[in-house]
């Protein structure tokens, strides 16, 4: 019963049934620094993650 979060070349596993916001907090990722997509669609932070889902996180910070 797990969900996979992918950010760049890192993978994180969290329990299914939690919201995206909780999953981000659990993995120590600041929600403001990423956008989450599932099957190519954007998802909001209240989305409840289901078993077997893969969430791709896109880092949004750029600069120099």
């Amino acid at each position: 019963m797990s969900v996979k979060l992918i950010l760049r070349d890192k993978e994180y596993e969290v329990k299914a049934g939690m919201t995206l916001l909780s999953a981000l907090k659990k993995t120590g990722i600041v929600p403001e620094s990423v956008i989450a997509t599932r099957d190519g669609e954007l998802i909001t932070e209240d989305e409840i993650l289901q078993d077997g889902q893969v969430v791709k996180l896109i880092a949004v910070i750029s600069g120099g």
Partner: protein, 307 residues
């Protein structure tokens, strides 16, 4: 979460505005807000010629897309800086800009810094005093000079850049930490034209970086996800991370920081320490752009003699 406008499934939520929107309404909302900021800060009009500086990143390509959709006369400018670092960074970003322009039938100016001046940014970073351990300093100088040159040479009324709220808040944060009055005075949504210098505008200055990434993704704009290899570990990114921690705890903190600063500046909180015009400046003997030096500007000195 539901779209506030139609009740459909929301694609994106902005906690600082307490506003969630579906894809369709988000893609309407961003251009409408951009138009509002352009008018509010008197950036430019529909009669003026705009040069948009594009890097292949989400912000600049989104800005060009928005201006095009709003019906502005906006051409693009891409500077090929010769940054490879094993990932072909400049080649890929150039390809994305050219593809973007070609798909929409837009005009893109390309300046090849190596072809025109014989140096790449990594070369200059290695060989000059200015660039020593600070490639971003060299890059900034080259970009400012070349963007201004093309804007003037081709008769553009204004140079538009894709700076977003996170960029502006990070710069403001850095300037405030140093209480750098001169830089604080110069920061704002519009930098008026001055002798030898084109007007500059930042139409995205009130949108968070995350909002612009959402716009690019929902619009299907192909942009470069990789960070510039030289920007990794930079101070500006560190400030952005700090501000995002704050934003997470206090939604709206970044916008409030920036807007309160603009308001304070408008009320005269920051007094000019010296003449802010270019009246006291000289003209570079090589390129004709303003400079505080007596003969050559920093750009021409760097390109010519590698000081």
């Amino acid at each position: 979460m539901k779209c506030r406008k139609c009740g459909g499934k929301a694609a994106f939520n902005m906690r600082q505005h307490k506003l969630a929107l579906c894809k369709e309404h988000y893609l309407e909302w961003i251009p409408a807000q951009t138009e509002r900021f352009i008018e509010k800060y008197r950036m430019f009009t529909h009669d003026e010629k705009i040069l948009v500086a594009v890097s292949g990143g989400k912000d600049s390509l989104s800005l060009w897309d928005i201006l095009w959709k709003l019906g502005y006369h906006a051409d693009g400018l891409y500077l090929a800086l010769g940054i490879d670092e094993g990932i072909g960074y400049s080649d890929e970003s150039r390809r994305l800009c050219e593809e973007f322009a070609s798909k929409r039938g837009l005009t893109l100016h390309v300046v090849d810094v190596l072809g025109d001046y014989g140096h790449t940014i990594p070369d200059l970073a290695r060989s000059t005093h200015r660039g020593k351990d600070k490639p971003c300093s060299v890059c900034g100088l080259v970009k400012r000079h070349e963007m201004n040159r093309i804007a003037r040479d081709f008769g553009y009324d204004v140079l538009a850049t894709g700076h977003n709220l996170d960029d502006e808040a990070a710069v403001l944060f850095g300037n405030t930490l140093r209480w750098d009055g001169e830089y604080l005075l110069r920061q704002g949504p519009v930098l008026p034209a001055a002798p030898g210098l084109a007007r500059k505008a930042k139409p995205l200055c009130r949108f968070c970086e995350r909002e612009m990434a959402a716009y690019a993704l929902l619009s299907g704009i192909e942009y470069i996800y990789d960070e510039c290899p030289f920007a990794v570990g930079s101070t500006s990114i560190y400030y952005k991370e700090l501000l995002n921690d704050l934003e997470h705890e206090r939604p709206g903190a970044k916008l409030s920081f920036y807007l309160s600063f603009l308001e304070a500046k408008k009320k005269g909180l920051f007094a000019e320490q010296r003449e802010e015009t270019t009246a006291g400046l000289n003209v570079c003997q090589q390129c004709g752009q303003p400079t505080s030096a007596l003969d050559l500007c920093s750009f021409c000195r760097m390109m010519g003699v590698g000081v």
